[in-house]
């Protein structure tokens, strides 16, 4: 899809206005009010907080964090959310949002650091994280047994340098890992010329590398950092290009097991505005639509997964966090400017959620499982 012009784009961008001044309907209030979301944030006092809120932007719980966090994941059977420290942090706070108390603060093993992402198996038994072990070049998939006081019970290779986000497949055995490919010293990148990002499928019990796919060689500097997995196992990737900002490279891709990575085309008029950086990827509740954020371009791109085509770009200043909402094609988006929105892919609308929370929302927004 290339035949769009700037005016059309702007029209898409703010299919919003109407929205900006429109009121959320009563039905939507009922719907959104029952949904729970969580995100890390920084408040005006400069400190970092975990916030839980409902789909109307109303605070449910908050927790002061020891440092900046990245992804928040929820426990499927306990009223817990886990706040994972941002790379190269070392702590995970497990917070009970019903009692408002800290259940436990985990520390990574000596010398290890986290990459900001985690998953909990749907039976609530295991916590899995991507981590860096000083003596190993490739990343580590660390498995903790929650029932045994979060004791580390297994550790596997992620089969690549610089793992970042990870998602558990529906079979609850296969972990899909985005190996960004970037070797870092602190936060300094030291291997950009030779980096080799990959998507790895790893058996969480045996550590067996079940499948590993790479981008075509010319895109080896497109770091695969964030991903989501659809109900049918399709993976969407958000990438960050480390080469020249003027290069024309894909920033979004899809993958299905047994196939090659399918890079998606962003219309040139929009691609140039993304500043080579996508921040989060998220399927909707059906897997038919996806949203990928581009905070440096102040845009959320929307994708039709059935046709594997770009669908729209909607302007959200410094927007990065995306979570699926209950309805098909609907997403909740958070921004570094403290805004929350509902985006609807089918109606092409952006509706501001009138939150009173005054924080900068960090990169990722998570939908919280109801227990």
């Amino acid at each position: 899809m290339t035949g769009i012009n700037r005016r059309t784009f702007l029209g898409w961008a703010a299919a919003a206005p109407a929205l900006l001044h429109s009121h959320i309907t009563l039905a939507a209030v009922d719907n959104l009010g029952t949904q729970r979301f969580a995100s890390a944030s920084q408040a005006a006092d400069g400190l970092f907080y975990l916030y839980l809120f409902d789909g109307l932007g109303k605070e449910v719980a908050q927790h002061l964090l020891p440092s900046r966090a990245h992804q928040i994941v929820s426990h499927p059977t306990q009223p817990w959310v886990l706040a994972v420290a941002r790379r190269p942090g070392t702590t995970i706070d497990i917070f009970n949002y019903q009692t408002g108390s800290l259940v436990k603060r985990l520390n990574s093993s000596h010398g290890y650091h986290l990459y900001g992402h985690a998953q909990v198996t749907t039976d609530g038994r295991y916590l899995l994280t991507t981590e860096k072990k000083p003596s190993q070049e490739n990343g580590r998939l660390v498995v903790r047994d929650i029932q045994q006081g979060f004791e580390i019970v297994k550790e596997h290779s992620t089969a690549g340098i610089g793992p970042h986000e990870l998602r558990l497949s529906a079979d609850q055995k296969t972990m899909v890992i985005a190996n960004g490919g970037i070797k870092t010293k602190g936060r300094e990148k030291i291997n950009l010329e030779s980096m080799q990002p990959s998507l790895a499928y790893v058996d969480i019990h045996s550590g067996e590398l079940l499948e590993q796919v790479y981008l075509p060689p010319q895109y080896h500097q497109s770091s695969i950092r964030h991903l989501d997995i659809s109900p049918n196992g399709q993976v969407i990737m958000a990438m960050q290009y480390q080469g020249n900002p003027g290069d024309s490279v894909p920033l979004v891709a899809l993958h299905s097991r047994g196939e090659a990575i399918q890079t998606l085309t962003i219309p040139a008029q929009i691609n140039g505005r993304l500043n080579q950086y996508c921040g989060s990827a998220c399927f909707d509740s059906t897997g038919d639509f996806a949203a990928v954020s581009a905070p440096r371009g102040n845009l959320i791109t929307l994708w039709n997964i059935k046709t594997q085509q770009f669908h729209a770009a909607i302007k959200v200043s410094d927007g990065c966090g995306i979570a699926k909402a209950k309805d098909a094609g609907e997403f909740i988006v958070s921004s570094g400017t403290g805004r929350l929105y509902t985006l609807n892919s089918q109606k092409m609308t952006r509706t501001a959620i009138p939150t009173t929370l005054k924080v900068k929302w960090d990169n990722h927004l998570s939908k919280i499982a109801q227990v």
Binding site: L10, P17, A18, R86, G116, N244, Q269, G338, K358
Partner: protein, 375 residues
């Protein structure tokens, strides 16, 4: 070419409703109001952005004409005139290079105009390859598919200043390519300038509610508040300072005059690297305090931080004065004096960066959280 006149007409039929939403920080009671940002945005657009794109369009038109003349009638005089017109047009680009949002980002026009720094030497490789061809037509179709490194000032600079023996042959591919690039730069400039009419309208509409019956205004709002739109201008003011220091000064200067690598500077072939920095700083200075009746400086003063407002002004004046006295670096020879002065400029830029960051806090402007420090 579209007129770049007043924005006032777009306000007809519109009633201003300043939304006042979206302030994340614990807002200082002295931070500018949305109405003040609205006034500043319009002043910046009319007095800073549009005139600078107009200069680029005008000066690139002259450059295109001079290149056509050189190719038609090769001579030393015409080569000199073409080189001079290149320097003037490039200076115009340097004077608006800091605006990195809006139409200039469409189709990567910003990178097309100047693919730099070119870490992999892509421009040289692409140029070498295309110059081997004998039957290439450098038309719109060529530029639609050509490498981005062949479309702008760096490629033209190579042709005009590095391979200038060939360019004085009217039948040489160098000449037709140079003339085509100059024309492409001009057309790109015209497109940016033209599309800023729409961008300006969107910025002007920020925070305004369209009344029923308004016939000519867009039914959507790209910027929710004037301060959101102003944030783009504040990024244009603050972010280039570090980039200039890192890329244009510290990298080519290296650890000493003897170790300096001036070929890493921005426009060493045309000996304009220092002039580029002068143009950049003059533009940032104007963006800071050169608009009327409102400027970033006056807002900062009104917000109660006169001390910093004056310190920033003084820093701009000092840097400008110092840069004025630095001669162009010729023959890649960075003298000890020039090295010392440029390193001092670098230190001053660092100080300016700190002061501007403090100013943004006072003005309650958040330049970016996820966009500037993501993961």
């Amino acid at each position: 070419m579209l007129p770049t006149g007043s924005l006032t007409p777009v306000l007809l039929g519109v009633t201003l409703f300043i939304l006042g939403a979206g302030v994340v920080h614990a807002a200082s009671s002295q931070a500018p109001s949305e109405e003040q940002w609205h006034t500043l945005n319009n002043a910046i657009i009319e007095q800073h952005v549009l005139p600078r794109y107009q200069h680029l369009a005008d000066n690139s038109a002259v450059m295109s004409q001079q290149l056509a003349r050189l190719c038609a009638t090769p001579s030393s005089d015409n080569l000199n005139a073409a080189q001079t017109s290149f320097k003037t047009a490039q200076a115009s680009w340097q004077g608006v290079q800091h605006i990195q949002f809006g139409p200039v980002t469409m189709l990567m026009r910003n990178h097309s105009l100047q693919y730099w720094p070119d870490k992999k030497n892509t421009g040289a490789k692409q140029l070498k390859s295309i110059l081997k061809t004998t039957d290439q037509t450098f038309d719109d179709e060529f530029f639609r598919s050509a490498s981005i490194s062949l479309k702008g000032f760096p490629a033209l600079e190579r042709l005009l200043f590095a391979n200038n023996k060939h360019i004085q042959d009217s039948k040489a591919v160098e000449c037709s390519l140079a003339a085509a690039i100059a024309q492409h730069i001009h057309e790109t400039s015209l497109s940016i300038q033209s599309e800023w009419t729409e961008e300006a309208r969107q910025i002007s509409l920020a925070g305004q509610k369209v009344l029923p019956g308004a016939s000519h205004v867009a039914a959507y709002q790209v910027y929710e508040t004037p301060s959101e739109a102003a944030t783009e201008f504040m990024k244009s003011l603050v972010e280039p300072v570090e980039a200039i220091r890192d890329n244009k000064l510290l990298k080519p200067l290296a650890a000493s005059a003897e170790e300096s690598r001036w070929k890493k500077s921005e426009s060493w072939r045309s000996e304009q690297s220092v002039n580029n920095i002068q143009q950049n700083l003059a533009a940032l200075h104007e963006l800071y305090s050169g608009t009327q009746p409102s400027s970033v400086k006056t807002l900062l003063e009104a917000a109660g931080d006169k001390l910093n407002a004056h310190a920033i002004e003084a820093e701009f004046n000092l840097i400008s004065e110092e840069l004025k006295n630095i001669p162009a670096v010729t023959q890649l020879n960075v003298t000890a004096d020039t090295y010392q002065t440029l390193m001092h400029t670098s230190d001053q830029l660092k100080a300016l960066q700190g002061k501007l960051a403090a100013a943004m806090q006072t003005l309650n402007i958040q330049l970016g959280f996820n966009s500037r420090d993501g993961d």
